[in-house]
């Protein structure tokens, strides 16, 4: 996955988790990124909402397990909004 949305999500995650962008893949998750804890997960939610201008439901937040899933979720949210 290398869509522009994926790249933007990866950049946000890289900044928040202080991990180089090239080490973040679609399969990256809290299991593989040590700094991805519950606080940073909430920070990621807030950063995505601010960047893309939508609001995530608690259901959607719980589904955000990997960077790939998150990018796909953002794509769906933006398509629904447009």
């Amino acid at each position: 996955m290398t869509s522009p949305i994926f790249e933007q999500v990866r950049t946000i995650a890289s900044d928040l988790f202080t991990v180089p962008t090239d080490r973040i893949t679609g399969d990256s998750s809290a299991e593989t990124i040590e700094t991805w804890d519950s606080i940073q997960h909430l920070n990621l939610v807030l950063a995505l909402e601010e960047k893309f201008g939508f609001q995530l439901s608690t259901d959607e937040i719980e589904q955000m397990q990997t960077i790939g899933q998150i990018a796909a979720l953002v794509e769906r949210k933006l398509q629904t909004a447009s």
Binding site: N43, V45, T58, E62
Partner: protein, 373 residues
């Protein structure tokens, strides 16, 4: 089931009771109990109320996994405007006893931030606890609200202050100081030196009042320019917080030449093991014309001393009040009473390092529980 966060309603009460039982069964602290009734006893929301409490619960199907309270109140901001601000308190998540629900705490906080983007937290028991750690991780502005104490009866303090009596050697020394009167002599000497160094306080008269009159509105308007950030302390709010019918509080006004200089609210704190059998009083809330804070602190202290308290406590953030307490013989100690402001609120408080010097937070800005006075 996905978590949904909803206003706490009567039909959720059995699930909240079950939630409380699960926390207790898992060994959670006795104080960690969510409200058993869905309607707040303190500051319930009405059509007319500008200050009110609301409760919310995190639902996992039929189960409650957590909850929080949100107090909404008008605050004066650094730009001189008055806006409604939310106070996030009494947060409880099943995540504290079951890691499967670790995400609930974050969902509760986010829900509160959506409902009230201008949000603050207060107290929290110190920086070591999970909530302040989470808030700092989210980039909230924060600072401790300084803690002050005044020892009225040194001998009882030495015998009863459990947090200082931590070893047999310390207990022996403190008992010795109490028995010989050397502790009393040292404390009185310190106070005498302190009072010599402090600026003189012009004479004033103090009056214990049953309820606050309309003159506190004038005082609020006269003094507020000295404060960068404070909850509105007008007559409406004071009557709501400290109703004449509530016996827990003593309300006092300080006057000179018939003019109101300030007011304070004092009361007794609930028994706490760390204070042994001491009677602990609190200067809960206060307000004064700039420069008249020492007169109010002196009067409030006198009232509590007359009421027989052994120890008097207060938390104060504003530099004028801090100086007044320090000059009135109060000592400061590490504070576990933490203020934190959401990012949206912090934008209005910039630069926070300057704003925090003139913001006014006391125990009165907390959750209203008598144990926290």
């Amino acid at each position: 089931m996905p978590i949904t966060i909803q206003p706490y309603r009567v039909e959720h009460e059995p699930a909240v009771a079950a939630f409380n039982r699960r926390l207790a069964a898992a060994g959670a602290d006795d104080n960690l109990v969510f409200f058993t009734r869905s309607t707040p006893r303190w500051l319930p929301k009405t059509e007319e109320s500008a200050v009110y409490n609301e409760f919310f619960v995190a639902l996992d199907g039929e189960m409650v996994r957590g909850g929080y309270a949100l107090k909404t109140q008008n605050f004066l901001l650094p730009d001189g405007s008055t806006r409604s601000i939310g106070y996030y308190h009494h947060v409880l998540s099943e995540g504290i006893v079951n890691k499967a629900h670790a995400a609930t705490g974050g969902l509760l906080l986010r829900d509160a931030m959506l409902r009230s983007p201008l949000l603050y937290c207060l107290g929290m028991g110190g920086y070591d606890n999970p909530l302040p750690k989470m808030l700092i991780g989210l980039g909230w502005s924060h600072c401790p609200v300084p803690f002050y104490f005044r020892i009225v009866h040194p001998s009882r303090f030495l015998r009863e202050m459990q947090t200082l009596r931590t070893s047999s050697a310390r207990r022996l020394l403190m008992n010795l100081a109490a028995a010989t009167g050397s502790g009393w002599a040292a404390w009185k000497t310190y106070q005498a030196i302190r009072s010599l160094k402090s600026p003189r306080i012009a004479p004033s008269t103090m009056q214990v009042v049953g309820g606050f009159g309309d003159d506190v509105d004038t005082l609020w308007l006269q003094a507020r320019s000295a404060y960068s950030f404070t909850a509105v302390r007008d007559a409406y709010t004071l009557r709501l917080f400290y109703p004449a019918t509530d016996p827990h509080f003593t309300r006092l006004t300080v006057n000179r030449g018939g003019n109101l200089l300030g007011w304070a609210v004092v009361g007794e704190r609930r028994k706490d093991a760390k204070y042994g059998s001491m009677r602990v009083g609190s200067i809960l809330d206060c307000w004064a014309l700039p420069g008249e804070e020492p007169a109010v602190v002196r009067s409030a202290t006198e009232v509590l001393e007359q009421q027989g308290f052994d120890l008097i406590l207060s938390n104060q953030s504003h530099q004028f009040w801090r100086r007044a307490f320090e000059n009135s013989g109060y000592l400061s100690a590490e504070s576990n009473f933490i203020f934190a402001a959401s990012k949206n609120l912090s934008k209005l408080l910039n630069p926070f390092d300057e704003t925090k010097l003139r913001m006014h937070f006391t125990r009165a800005d907390g959750d209203g529980l008598p144990r926290n006075f």
